[in-house]
Symmetry: C2
Subunit: 137 residues, 2 copies
DNA sequence: TTGTTAATCTATAAAATCTATAGGATAAAA
DNA sequence: TTTTATCCTATAGATTTTATAGATTAACAA
C-alpha cells in the first residue's frame, strides 16, 4: 500500500506544479486545498526539499515553490524520498542494496528472481514519468 | 517492502514445486530448510490453501503438496493472497476497488494517474509469471 | 527595533500493521 | 487408542505509520 506520506507529497507537488506564478505558496494553503494535516505536510515538504527541485522561503509571503520545471522532476527521485527504495526487497535494490540474512544464495532464490522483475518494471514506469505527466486532465 | 509473510510463502511454494514426488511435505520440513518459524509458516500455508492449487493432508505422513502444475499457478493469485491487492491505492484496484474518501475527483488526481501506471506494470509481470518461472537456476 | 508570519527542527504520542507464538481441536494413520 | 501433523483462533510483542506539539530561526513590514 502507498503510504499517506507519499500520497500527500505527490498531491502537494502537483499543487505547486499547477501554479501559474513561481511565487512561494504557504504550506497552510496547500494543506487546506488538498485536505492534508498541515503539521504532517510540513514534515513531508521538508524531506522533499533535500531533492533539490523544491525551494522554500521563510517569513511573510514565504512558502514552497518548484525550482525546476515539472518535466525535469522524475518520479524515481520523488518516490525514493517519499516511499523509500523502489525495490520491494533490499537484495534487488539499486540504491540501497543489502544481502538478505536468511538467504544463502541469491542466484537460486525465487523471491529474488520475482522481485527483480517487479523492480525493473516499476523502475521503467518511474523513469519514464515526470511530475508534468501527472498534471494533465 | 515485501512482507515476510509473502517472502516465506513464496519460498515454501518454491520448495514444494521443487519436489520430485507429489507426496505431502510436512510444514516442519519446509520451515527447517527455508529458515522459517514453523508456527508462522502454518498460518501462511493455511491461507494459501484457499487458492485451490495447494492441498494438505493431516496425520502421519501428512503435509502440503501442490495440486496443480507450477506452470498453472500464476503470481497474480499468489501475490493477492499473500501480499493483498496488487494496486498500491484502492482507487485503482481491479479486485478491491474503493473510492478514496479524501479525493473529490479520480480523473484529475495525480496519485490516481501514477498508480494506474504502476498497477498495470506490476500486473503484467505477475500475469506473465508462474511458479515454474521462479524455479530455474 | 519590534511584531508578525511562516518555515525549520526535534521529540514524542497515538494508531495501525506486521511478526510471531500459544494452545487446544480435528483428522489420519499405525 | 496413541501418535502425528494440520486446523483454527486468539493474542502478545515489535515495528512502522500517522499525526501532533512546541520551541527555534529567518524574512518581512511597520
Amino acid at each position: 500500500m502507498l503510504s499517506k506520506k507519499t500520497k500527500y507529497g505527490l498531491k502537494a507537488l502537483t499543487y505547486l506544479a499547477r501554479q501559474k506564478t513561481k511565487e512561494p505558496i504557504a504550506i497552510a494553503e496547500i494543506a487546506k486545498h488538498e485536505n492534508i494535516s498541515q503539521k504532517f505536510l510540513e514534515n513531508i515538504l521538508l524531506s522533499l526539499r533535500s531533492t533539490g527541485f523544491l525551494g522554500s522561503k521563510k517569513g511573510k509571503g514565504g512558502g514552497y515553490y518548484l525550482i525546476k520545471d515539472p518535466s525535469e522532476i522524475p518520479m524515481t527521485t520523488v518516490m525514493r524520498v517519499l516511499e523509500g527504495p523502489i525495490a520491494m526487497v533490499s537484495c534487488v535494490s539499486l540504491n540501497f542494496y543489502e544481502k538478505c540474512d536468511d538467504c544463502p544464495d541469491e542466484q537460486s532464490c525465487s523471491v529474488h528472481r520475482l522481485m527483480l522483475k517487479v523492480r525493473d518494471s516499476n523502475l521503467e514506469v518511474y523513469r519514464n514519468t515526470s511530475l508534468s505527466d501527472l498534471l494533465a486532465r
